[in-house]
Amino acid sequence: MSTFGFTEEQNELRSTAARFLEEKSSSADVRRLMETSEGFDEATWKQIADLGWTGMAIPEEYGGVGFGFVELTVLMEEMGKKLFCAPYFSSVILATNAILNAGTEDQKKELLPGIADGTTRAALAFVEPSGKWEVDSAEVTANGGKISGTKSYVVDGATANLLIVSAKSGNGISLYVVDPDAEGVTRTALQTLDMTRKQAKIEFNNTPAKLLGEEGAGTAALQKTLEQAACLLSAEMVGGAQACLDASTTYAKERYQFGRPIGSFQAIKHKCANMLMEVEMARSAAYYAGWAAAEDPEELSLAASLAKAYCSDAFFHAAAENIQIHGGIGFTWEHDAHLYFRRAKSDEIYLGDATYHRELVAQKLGV
C-alpha cells in the first residue's frame, strides 16, 4: 500500500535514506547522542548535508537541491522510524520555511545557502512560556531594531547558530533574524521528556534583531510555516508508529509463553492488527498532507490539521501498545520502547495535540 503517489526517484530516496539511517542512527547512536547536551553528531550532520538532505526543499537559486515537501515527507518518515538525532526538524523544516515564507529575496539569498550546506543550523523561536500555539500570542516585543522578552520550547534552541524569532511591535507580529551570540541573549536548555530532541528557553534583553521580510507580515508567514511543519511532523510520527508496530510484531513472533508465541494469542494479535490499521490510516493522512503542502496551497491548512490530529493519536497509541506487548522488558530503560513513547508524547503535543487540531478542522470546515 505504501507506494501510492511516489515517483521512482522518491522511492529511491527512501531506500537510500533507510540504508543511511540504519547505519548512522542505531539504537546505540541514539542513546549516545541523547545523553549529550548538543544532541547530534557533527560528522553525521555533515554527511546528510553532503547527501543534499539539508537543502532538499530549498530552491536551487538559494543553494538548495530544489525538491519539495514530498521528498521531505519521505525523509521525515524514515528519520522518525530511527529516532534520528539531528537539528533537522528545527533547521531544515521550521526555520527554512519561515525564511522562505517571510524573507525578502536578498535575505533568502543570504540565509538559505548556509542552511542548505549544513553550516547554518537555524532554530525558530515562536512559542513562549505561556505554551500557546497561536502565532499571534507572541509577547516578546520589538522596538527600534531590538527585541526583549522570553521564548521557550525552542527546538534545538540552545545549539542553533541562527535564530528566527517572532515578536510584536506597533504593526503586529513580525519575524526577526537574531544572532544567538548577540548581546542580551541567554539560552537555557530545558529538561525534555524526549531526550532525542532538545529544547531551550531563550531570553532576549534589548537584543539586536533584523527584520525578516516586512513588518507586521509575521502572522501569515508563521502560520503557513507551522502548517507545513505539522504536515512533516505527521510524517515523522508515521515513521515512529511503524517502528513500534515492527518491534511489536517481531517480539510477538519470538516471545514464547504457555508453549506458544505470544503473537498467536488473539489479545496480542488483535492489538497488532489495530496498530497496523492505524499506521496505514496515519500514513494516508501524512502522505495527503505532504502532497497538499507540495501541490495545493488552498488545501494545506486543513490537511495539516487533519494529519496532525490523526497521526498524533496513532503514534501515541502505537507507542503505548508497544510497551504493553513487550511486558516487563518494555518497561526497562534498556529497551527502546520508552524512547518512542517519549517521542510520541512530545510530537503529539508539539504544534498542538489532536483535540486542538480537531477544533481547527471544525473551524476550517466552517462548522
Binding site: M1, K253, S264, M277, M281, Y288, A309, Y310, A362
Partner: protein, 415 residues
C-alpha cells in the same frame, strides 16, 4: 476527492469519455444540474429517473465494472479506470454500487477467477445489468465465522447434485435469481477439503426462503432451506472438493466491497441531492458545543483517512489481480467507524434521538442507521476474525492452534 493525483493525459481523456457518456445517458437536465450546482433542477431531473433502466444502461456500457474483461461486459481496464469511473458516478450523484451489490462485487469476480467459459458467458453480463440479482448462500446456523465447517450436503447423482440443508442470514435471497452456494460434497475428509461451490437457481423446486426480522425491524436477510434441490453438474464452479479456494475469492472480494460502504455511499445510493458531508453536518445540532465540534471534526478526519487509504489500496492493486488480506484493513476500519459515528450522531441529538413524533423520517433514518451499523462488524467476516487474519496474513504472526486440523469433518465438534 482533493487528494486525487492529477490526471495524466491518458486518464484525463478517459475521464472526459466517462463524462461524455454520462451526459448522453442521464435524463435530460441531470448533467447540467450537477455542473451548475442547481439542486432543484437535479430533483426535477431525478423525478423521471428509472433506476432499473439505468442499471441496465450502465451494465451494458462497461462502466459498471471497468476491471472485468471486455467480452463479459467490462472494459478490460486498469484499476485507475475503476477509480475514475467511481469518482465520476459520485460526482453526478449516482450510486457507485447498484442494485446487484453481491452479484457485481462478489459473484462476478469469483466467476471470472474460477468459472468456465460457459458460466462466464451465461451469467456475467446479466449480473452487470442487474437483470439477474445474486445472493450468497454461505453462512449456516452452525457455521458462521468458521465457514469452512459448513454442512449443507451436496450429493452427486446422475449428472446432478442434490442439495439438502439450511443456510441463514442470506441477504436479499427473496429477490435473487441465483445464489453462490457453498456445500459439502465429502464429509469424510478435513473440513476445507470436502467443500464445493455451486451456482443455484433460486427458483428451483425445494428452495424455501423464509425472511428473518432484523434488529432494525425490517427483513433484509433470510433463512433458506434446501430440500432435495437438484442442481445440474454444469453449475459446479471449479472442481469438486475445491470449493473452499473458490469461496475465499468471494470472501476477499466481499471485504473490498464492504470497505466502501458507509453512511455516505448509502446517501449516494439513496439519491440525495446534497453533498453527504454537508447533510451529515446539518443533521447535528448544537454545533457550537466543544464536544460536538470534536465529534464532527473526528468524523471528518476518520472519513478522509479511510477514503485516502482505500484510494491508496486501489492504486496499489494490480490490474486484474484478486484482492488480498489488506481488504480487511479498510473493512474493519469502516465497520468500526460506522458504528462509532452513527452512535455519536445519536448522542449529539440528545432525547430527540430516542423519541420522536410519528412519521418524523429524519429521526427514523437516524435510528435505522444507528441500528443497522451494528451489522457492519458482523457481516462479511466479523472484526475479530478479520483482525486475526490481518495479524496472520499481513503481519505474519503465528496461527492459533487448530483443534480441528486434519480431522474428518464429520468428527469435528460443532454447535
Amino acid at each position: 476527492m482533493r487528494w486525487t493525483i492529477e490526471d495524466t493525459p491518458e486518464r484525463a481523456a478517459f475521464r472526459e469519455q466517462v463524462r461524455g457518456w454520462l451526459r448522453e445517458n442521464l435524463p435530460a437536465g441531470w448533467a447540467d444540474a450537477i455542473e451548475s450546482g442547481d439542486a432543484d433542477k437535479l430533483d426535477q431531473a431525478r423525478k423521471s429517473w428509472d433506476f432499473f433502466g439505468w442499471s441496465r444502461t450502465i451494465g451494458m456500457s462497461g462502466y459498471g465494472a471497468p476491471l472485468w474483461p471486455k467480452e463479459y461486459g467490462g472494459l478490460s481496464g486498469e484499476p485507475w479506470m475503476q477509480n475514475i469511473t467511481r469518482e465520476e458516478l459520485a460526482r453526478y450523484r449516482l450510486p457507485t454500487v447498484g442494485l446487484n451489490i453481491l452479484g457485481v462485487g462478489l459473484a462476478g469476480p469469483t466467476l471470472i477467477a474460477h468459472g468456465n467459459e460457459e458460466q462466464k458467458k451465461r451469467y456475467l453480463q446479466k449480473i452487470l445489468t442487474s437483470e439477474e440479482v445474486w445472493c450468497q448462500l454461505f453462512s449456516e446456523p452452525g457455521s458462521g465465522s468458521d465457514l469452512a465447517s459448513a454442512g449443507a450436503r451436496a450429493t452427486r447423482s446422475n449428472g446432478e447434485y442434490i442439495i439438502n440443508g439450511q443456510k441463514v442470514w442470506t441477504s436479499i435471497a427473496q429477490m435473487s435469481h441465483f445464489g453462490m452456494l457453498l456445500a459439502r460434497t465429502d464429509p469424510d475428509v478435513p473440513k476445507h477439503d470436502g467443500l464445493s461451490y455451486f451456482i443455484v437457481d433460486m427458483k428451483s423446486p425445494g428452495v424455501d426462503i423464509r425472511p428473518l426480522k432484523q434488529i432494525t425491524g425490517s427483513s433484509e436477510f433470510n433463512e433458506v432451506y434446501f430440500n432435495d434441490v437438484r442442481i445440474p453438474a454444469e453449475n459446479l464452479v471449479g472442481v469438486e472438493g475445491d470449493g473452499w479456494r473458490v469461496a475465499r475469492t468471494t470472501l476477499m472480494n466481499e471485504r473490498v466491497a464492504l470497505s466502501g460502504l458507509s453512511l455516505d455511499s448509502a446517501a449516494f445510493a439513496g439519491g440525495t441531492r446534497k453533498d453527504p458531508w454537508a447533510l451529515f453536518v446539518d443533521s447535528i445540532p448544537n454545533r457550537e458545543d466543544g464536544r460536538v465540534r470534536q465529534f464532527i471534526a473526528k468524523s471528518y478526519v476518520e472519513k478522509e483517512v479511510k477514503e485516502i487509504t482505500q484510494f491508496r489500496a486501489n492504486m496499489a492493486r494490480m490490474s486484474g489481480a484478486q484482492p488480498g488480506p489488506e481488504g480487511g484493513v479498510t473493512k474493519v476500519y469502516n465497520a468500526e467507524f460506522n458504528k462509532w459515528r452513527s452512535n455519536g450522531i445519536m448522542n449529539a441529538n440528545g432525547p430527540a434521538a430516542v423519541a420522536w413524533d410519528h412519521g418524523d423520517s429524519d429521526s427514523e433514518n437516524r435510528a435505522h442507521a444507528f441500528l443497522r451499523a451494528r451489522a457492519n462488524s458482523i457481516e462479511g467476516g466479523t472484526s475479530e476474525i478479520l483482525r486475526t487474519q490481518m495479524g496472520e496474513r499481513i503481519l505474519g504472526l503465528p496461527r492459533e492452534p487448530e483443534v480441528d486440523k486434519g480431522i474428518p469433518w464429520k468428527e469435528i465438534k460443532r454447535s
